[in-house]
Symmetry: none
Subunit: 285 residues, 2 copies
DNA sequence: CTCGATCCGGAACATGATTTCCAGCGTACA
DNA sequence: TGTACGCTGGAAATCATGTTCCGGATCGAG
């Protein structure tokens, strides 16, 4: 909840105009506002590895009268965060677009989705995703394309043998045909289940694949065909289901998989990194 | 949560021994510790309606060396409450598959991201996304492809004139060239900013487009070129940044846009629905 | 009613922090 | 290569804040 006088905005606005040393201070401030709210100029300067003068100059540059005023701004912000939730929610305007409700809802989606995940099942699935002998295929309904893609990208970064199942009917058939019968199929689809997704999943299950479903209820048709089922909570105030919980679950699976792949994944990530550096495709930061 | 040196406990222990005026101060301290953590002796004394001497005497009576030490104790306590989830988790045991830690972290990501979003900016951006006169282009870095895709899909379902900016350099150039100069560009990219994404965004801004950035810090190069910047919190225990907060923010924007488009979007959604029914591409549920 | 003890508020003082200012250093440009 | 400019760190000056201390007020006991 930004204030008319949000120090973060000021840092953003000052943006590129900052000198290297000032930027180090700014980064430190953004990184840990507590260091500013509670500490002294000398402490902050020390932490950022600069002289006290630089700290004061940064405050000036941001339009504050001096460090003291910057500190006041940061403290106001911290104090707001400390306020009990009820109070915080109230201080928005009389709920025009109900941001507070969205927050509550999304928090609930994440919490409910992750809490509902059985630890044993999580471990089993992560084991399978980390099993380099078995290829992994990712399949999703139309509404889940984005999150499935995200999951796919991350798994691909971690290990070889990850493929997307999509495109036209011919492509899907070919993908399925090519993979060995001990492959793992990760299928994501909510509510208005796409027929072809369910059919494809059933097909894969019949071929003997391990099918892992991420869907929105035990009664989902996907639950019937999958060996492991994660149930996500997708409540939303908008017209579409929320996939925030789904993504949180995906992240968890990815993290668990990464841990299992420790060495080989690090190596793989390094290789990607080297390519990036080589091509200069990332900005220097 | 209790520290060996919890000021609350000390006040409780001193309990009855306090004089009336001291008690007023103690009550004020318990009531709103922020007044102590952030304020000065004079302020606290004023707020409690006592003299500065009394405040100092209370600190003495509680066994602190003076007000300064009491303030330190209170600040330590406040600082703990303010700690981001990553930090809170880190100082516990490094639990490997700890689902609870992930929950904690992702909740924090969602909360921090949505709370940091300025209501005014949200409204402004939603207005623009709902402006059917202006086309919307969506651009994203490699790591954000999935969430950007999700956002794109949902916006497309709500309104016409939404395009993805991706593919090869030629395709990007064409996309940019074709769109009118009052278009809106929604760009999503975190940390290791892809150079071409930043360049493209800058280009769009120079053409006069409204650039809305979703990125991970005020000092992100995207923040420098965008008119509106949303800062997401992306802490993660895995090897990749978490995009859960990003997605939650996207959902919020989509919901706000949908509300503004009320009638026309409903019509559009109905049209999609009719097509689905017609093709029997959804399972009956 | 008077005395004494305790409590309290505020002024003077001391401490510690911030600000101001300057000199050194690196760098870009001629 | 020389020069000018901007950046930086730190020392001295200035300011704010905590602490100490004292005079006055209140209350109860004798």
């Amino acid at each position: 909840m930004a204030t008319p006088d949000d120090y973060r905005a000021r840092i953003g606005a000052a943006g590129e105009r900052l000198t290297p040393a000032e930027r180090r201070v700014a980064t430190t401030v953004l990184d840990d506002p507590r260091a500013v709210g509670f500490g002294t100029v000398a402490e902050l300067a020390d932490r950022a590895g600069v002289g006290v003068g630089t700290v004061v100059r940064l405050a000036d540059r941001l339009g504050y009268r001096g460090f003291t005023e910057l500190q006041r701004a940061v403290r106001r912000d911290l104090a707001r965060q400390l306020r009990p939730a009820v109070e915080r929610i109230r201080d928005g305007r009389p709920d025009p677009d109900a941001v507070a409700d969205h927050i509550e809802l999304q928090l609930d989606n994440v919490r409910a989705t992750l809490e509902a995940a059985d630890p044993g099942m999580l471990a089993r699935v992560a084991d399978r995703l980390a099993d380099l002998e078995r290829p992994v295929a990712v399949l999703s309904g139309d509404a889940s394309t984005g999150v499935a893609r995200h999951l796919l990208d991350q798994l691909t970064a971690l290990r070889p043998g990850v493929v997307a199942v999509d495109g036209n009917a011919v492509a899907v058939a070919r993908t399925l045909a090519v993979l060995p019968p001990d492959a793992t199929l990760l299928v994501v689809d909510l509510r208005r289940y796409d027929r072809w997704v369910v059919d494809t999943a059933r097909d894969a299950a019949e071929r003997g694949w391990s099918v892992v479903a991420v869907t929105d209820g035990e009664l989902s048709p996907l639950a019937a065909v999958a060996a492991d089922v994660f149930v996500v909570t997708a409540a939303s105030l908008g017209p579409f289901d929320s996939h925030v919980g789904t993504l949180a679950l995906g992240d968890l699976l990815v993290a668990m998989t990464a841990r299992r792949l420790a060495a080989s994944a690090a190596e793989r990530l390094d290789a990607v990194e080297r390519q990036w550096q080589l091509r200069r495709s990332l900005t220097l930061d």
